[in-house]
Subunit: 338 residues, 6 copies
């Protein structure tokens, strides 16, 4: 008789090495290996963990504006490129530990703009990058830091431990985006947050409801940092309210916590996940199966990435002169030249 | 200087007169007037309140099957037709009280099938029917009682107290259906439930999250009944577990309770609603505004009702299928042939 | 507490006065009144009862061909026009008896052709004609007698005793025609037959299945005649095999007989009909309600009558819908761009 | 001179190995080979044969609810995926035996939901899967087990032994669905049932009428199981009424049995089928030919499968994809997809 | 002999009545009439003039966050709906003065979200609304106030005084957006700004270059307000740096000022515009004519507005209505042929 | 901690050796080495520097026409071929100096026509040619000298000192061409001009705006020559107005000069470039990042070179354009045309 798989998941609640990409990547690698040793098959890190979530005010009132631009450039210089040696390092750690890793980072675009993105990186336990997801709508003044992602990376990754995906912070409340992942078969959802004092209600409610509504497991990973971890040389240190208490844990498909939420300390939170629990909850309420009404409502999704430039195909080309059946078109059906 | 409106809403937690349409309608009219006298501008009744939610097991194991068919016919005979004198009575009460009313009922289709629907009726304070909504997916064994609605009644009703709509029980967790209402501008959402002991987590979590995710007010109305209210002559009385404790209240657009949830007693729960709270929450997270990405995800909605029969149009009549702008008409807008 | 209606139905198994319109109408009036006196609220007569079902061979081998043409003319002369004094007479009888009547007849078209139709006439208990239905496909060599009806009379008549309709002989097996009536809410179905020895299996199987499949009551009325009732002067008497044993009765919505089938004698068969039985059967299998899939399959029905002449519409309108090559334009060229 | 084909058909009445996918598949393979050795060219197995039809009550009254969810998960784990190694095994058996096979199974969707379907699998005698059909409307409390199929698999498979298709249980009574198959030319119809004591009337009546109405052969295969075949460890064993007597056989296009119905024992029922009988019956009553009226009634069928997600194609882009006459351009004129 | 038109344009540099929609509209009406009396044929007002540009910090560092949400709601309540009585009032003033008017305002969406937009309203001298344009990308922390427009309103309005359009603040630097207007034939461009001390370089450089690059006239209108105009009751008064010195004027198609820039006072700046100057500059450098290379570079523009909901049209239905080339079928080809 | 690179750039303002290719190349080599010695990492020369920008009137009134044709031939004889020994010489100088070089020249096509192009040559510090760019639209009467380039050379060259590209004279005002370079990630833009008295406004405004709009550094290099440098033997010397005052310098990404503009003397203008300044300006206004709207406007670019002859592909070759799934191949997967 067959049985659905079980495994151990880990929600990592840890502090970065402040605004230092290389050091934070090294710390992340260390934590990945620790989670692997403790039996986890999957580890999830907080939002924008590398090099450090921008907890500071990003749009200072004039005349302090110059300060925020300076810190913008500082973050840009420490942001991660994908691919890059630092990504390779994370992949190597995942391979060594033999676990799947989902880790938040500030990504900078390679080669065109100086725009950064709030990105979640998915790594296979074999050490390959599975893919990445860029936050679709940065929240409130985060829009002064990160650009917007598009629909090309709303993907779900089939793995040995189930189908993985994740969303970042307030994007977990974007109704249609949520459904894009569920409708692709998501089973294990990483919900990553920066953690801010005022967010406790959000994180709890939205994570448990995501699990209940989607009949999935939700691994919640929230940032953690204390004021003493911030160097005094950091220009916005005193202008920032460092209420970053964490809030990480794991929710089952019935909307109840399996572990956590843990607050106010660094910790790797572990929980055993049994995929059979998904089936039992879907027996009554399968939001992408018998409890859906695709005849009445379905999701229209644009997966094509945006591009600043598209290739112009000259009209003079011969294939214009034939219709899809290879028949020559009468002249007056041809597109005018200009 | 302008200001957004405020009003008082009422979540009615009351018992029906068991399986008696006329008597329950009278009781509902009484409660509507009471709510009006107490200053409410809107009253919401529980799921399938008239003539009584089918708390009993609907699909008894063979050889008790005949019992459940008998009770099916009993419910059918007491079910409400729309329109009907009982609906007129409810409308008259709403008019007398001067309040908007949303009330759950088992509706029976007029004239074709013997199929019943789990329906929410929306009544204007002027005494007109605003519309009705049929539950899209009955939950689990409810599928032995009610048929499925379609997308033609996924509507939002603009009123003096804001834009009203509602969903029934587990349908509040149907991701895309939820978005259909939000995207139509819903501000006040009626979430009606039967109330069953095992549902407490559902009702609490899903109602608060709906409010938070949609930045709307949610008026939760759950059924209430005790075993002694059920006549001993009711054939399934002893086969039923009467754990119907209610659970009604009102949630604000930040996901926090304004009033309730109230359990274990009949009560009309009142709360003051200030639409400005919606704006303040939407400042940060407007799921149908600046926090949406309609360029990436949008909702495909079929509003055309289903019909068993469609009119066959002979060739000469082709122009009938288009409006004066040459656009194809939905079937139900077409002029009847004869 | 409300309850669905009950009444008594009558299936009339009787012989006509051979090929004599006036006499057969009088006999029918007599039987209508008898049924009324016996408490029936509805009486159903056999197929083509007036003036007599053409049991004889209608397409004799050449050189006997002339004989069949002669008898065709004889039938034409005795056929019923609608309206006509004979129809008025039937209506008056129905009114006097206070019952609904469904009666089969050979109808001749008024004023244009010499085509006859196999028609079912529906009479209200108030003495008004409700409507008529012409057999859509005459069976086999019947096509030498009757023309084809159209979809304009596929109607269901709401009455005090439920929604009435009916089909003639093999037309009861026309899948889509059957559904046209069911989808219009038919509850009491008249299935009329001529009765022929070889048909027993047909009548039994098809009538019971109609009831089961549609969850309706079926009143089966089959013709009855014996050779001695046929005047020796009738030219085809000896060429005809008079095996017309009847076969009438009433089937409930579970496919079981409530009364009959009665064979080999004239008799009015009565049965009590309780519409609640329809609801109980539809609880499990409502073919036009919860057990239909109008999103996947629906019926395309042409209700417009055929006509030999239609109004010619000048080209000016038509050109709009075609391009210069006479090809129909795609829709999106018709609609304005924005 | 050509002659329409003859062959031997087999209706398999057999018990599964209780809730054991692998063992039941092996048993099915054994029976396929036996049927082949006995000269059959086609074998039909009962509804949901693999891993076992859910004869137990699927929606136990609260507080036994947890039991039914547990058994739901148990069924899910033993349900069949298509494709899968077990399907390959069945195909190999069909190939070895050289016969066509139609077999019922509980299918589980791969990759998105945890929804199961009541599916009929069609296998070519060459060992290829012809296709599958998912029950469109599960009956009564079966809706707590299986989701609904759509119109994409209402197909008829042309083979050496005629055009094959089939419907499951009460779906054989769905008027329009029946016509979808007939109108696609069905000649050999598999009608599969679970067999329950109360169903005898249904199976007999509906199977014979299907044959008569459609002028096709109907192979009836009903489930068979006795209480002693159910392990005592099965949690719902004592709550189930095991009245599963079978009822399998073969009906000719005149609505008469060629073989069976056989009850109360396991058996493979064989019958010789001569397609010429279909022609002879259609001479008088061809429901999809001369006895149809497509000018008045036809079937509107949606064959497109439903999907939770659809590709968004912005109109702005679409204009690019069409020439000025609104015709789609050949693909190589379009901008690169990614 | 024909001659290209000449007229007088007015750049209005004025202060609003602080956060008071009605009063600011009245003041705007007064200024419109004044400009008309002074001979202007077109008047341009600053960005977001009604009810007042949000000069204050919009995303205050936590824990002052609540303050900014409060002020968000205050702005929302004073924002303009289009259409609305205030828009009618502006139109009436334009009609009375007989001049074209372009005026910036914070618009609030009617009926769905609580999202605001930074909108430019275009009014015909006849008192009709020509159209509106919503800022496409709000700049930096403005993203905490306004949503993003789409391409549906990138329009150019042909009038008696030339083809008018306009862009808001930093959007004047969006290369492709600029070209969308130029390529539609823009001749008179309204460039509206809030005016902030740090922006002087931007406004001057970008406005003159726009004129030079596009060979158009640019009417620059920047906001003006002094601290004493802000009521002390305004909660963010002391947190704001009120360096709003204005900077309005008119540039010719050679990139040289015809009038202004005027700073540090309220004033309506007038200048005579001769459209012949456009032709003279385009002789050498016509960016949308002989100096363009549409064979090498052209603009891909999405003019379709975004929508949260789109109508679902099942393919099954559409296929029925179109042949494989997307052409509409005459009706009798749609029904299955048989 | 990482930091973005800094380097020194040089704008060369120098005179050619009049209409003498070899001598001017030698002078250029000398200047390249001087710039290298002074620490520059990149040097930019003026438009058409080699052999001399055609400052003279190119289209003399008839009957002086023959004169201009003669001078056309003279220029043709001194024009540069690419590749050629002179290009090798320039490359060798760049290699010796170890700097990147961008230099303007009149190029003559090799082998087919007698057409010349106004070309910018890009040389790697390793001595390799990076590429060349031909002016897309010669300005006004320049069209009597040079042909038009195409889109195949609108490239951006990644180097150690950033991503380099450049445009010639009025082409810097071609909105879409500008965006082609920016969207490819340009960071250092060479804007080369001939320098003519009437152009001062152009050069200043357009260079500063290019920097501001694109958030790039702009290195402005304008020609310089005085009448005494022109041999009296040059037939058009007296017909020419030698007002060539130069105007070279370097602008930062905020639109402010870092160095220059220098007029009226030969000089190599140096400035330090810090790429971090780009990031700080892009924080607020990244025209190819967060401040772009590729969903609304994007650039359609034809990069395929024009050719007089193309291979004719008979219809049978159509499959070349499609992959094995019948999907059109993206252009770059196809075999090159030439």
């Amino acid at each position: 008789m067959e049985r659905l798989p079980k495994f151990t998941a880990a929600a990592v609640q840890a502090a970065p090495i402040f605004l230092d990409r290389k050091a934070t990547v090294e710390k992340a690698c260390h934590l990945i290996k620790e989670a692997g040793k403790n039996g986890a098959a999957l580890a999830v890190f907080p939002e924008a963990y590398i090099p450090t979530f921008p907890y500071w005010p990003r749009a200072l009132p004039h005349p302090d504006r110059e300060l925020s631009l300076d810190v913008y450039a500082q973050l840009y210089e420490e942001a991660v490129e994908i691919p890059s040696p630092e990504v390779d390092q994370l992949c190597a750690a995942a391979k060594e530990a033999g676990i799947y890793v989902i880790v938040g980072m500030t990504e900078r675009e390679i080669g065109v703009s100086a725009t950064m993105f709030n990105t979640l990186l998915f790594i296979h336990k074999s050490g390959e990058v599975l893919g990445k997801h860029r936050k679709l709508v940065p929240t409130f003044e985060e829009r002064c830091i990160w650009g917007q992602g598009d629909g090309s990376d709303l993907r779900v990754y089939p793995t040995e431990v189930g189908k993985l995906s994740g969303l970042i912070c307030g994007n977990n409340l974007m109704t249609l985006v949520k459904y894009a992942l569920l409708a692709k078969g998501e089973q294990i959802h990483a919900a990553v947050w920066p953690s801010l004092g005022r967010m406790k209600n959000y994180v709890d409610l939205c994570s448990r409801n995501y699990a209940l509504e989607g009949q999935v497991f939700v691994i919640v990973s929230s940032g953690y940092i204390t004021e003493d971890m911030v160097p005094d040389t950091f220009s916005l240190k005193k202008k920032t309210h460092w209420d970053v208490a964490g809030g990480s844990g794991i929710v089952g498909p019935n909307g109840e916590y399996v572990a956590g939420l843990v607050y106010d300390r660094k910790e790797i939170i572990y929980a055993d996940i049994d995929l059979r629990d998904i089936v039992k909850n879907k027996a009554i309420h399968d939001v992408v199966g018998h409890y859906a009404r695709p005849d009445v409502v379905s999701l229209l999704l644009r997966e094509e990435p945006y591009s600043l430039i598209q290739e112009m195909k000259p009209k003079g080309k011969k294939e214009l002169l034939e219709d899809s059946n290879g028949r020559s078109l009468p002249f007056n059906n041809r597109a005018p030249n200009r």
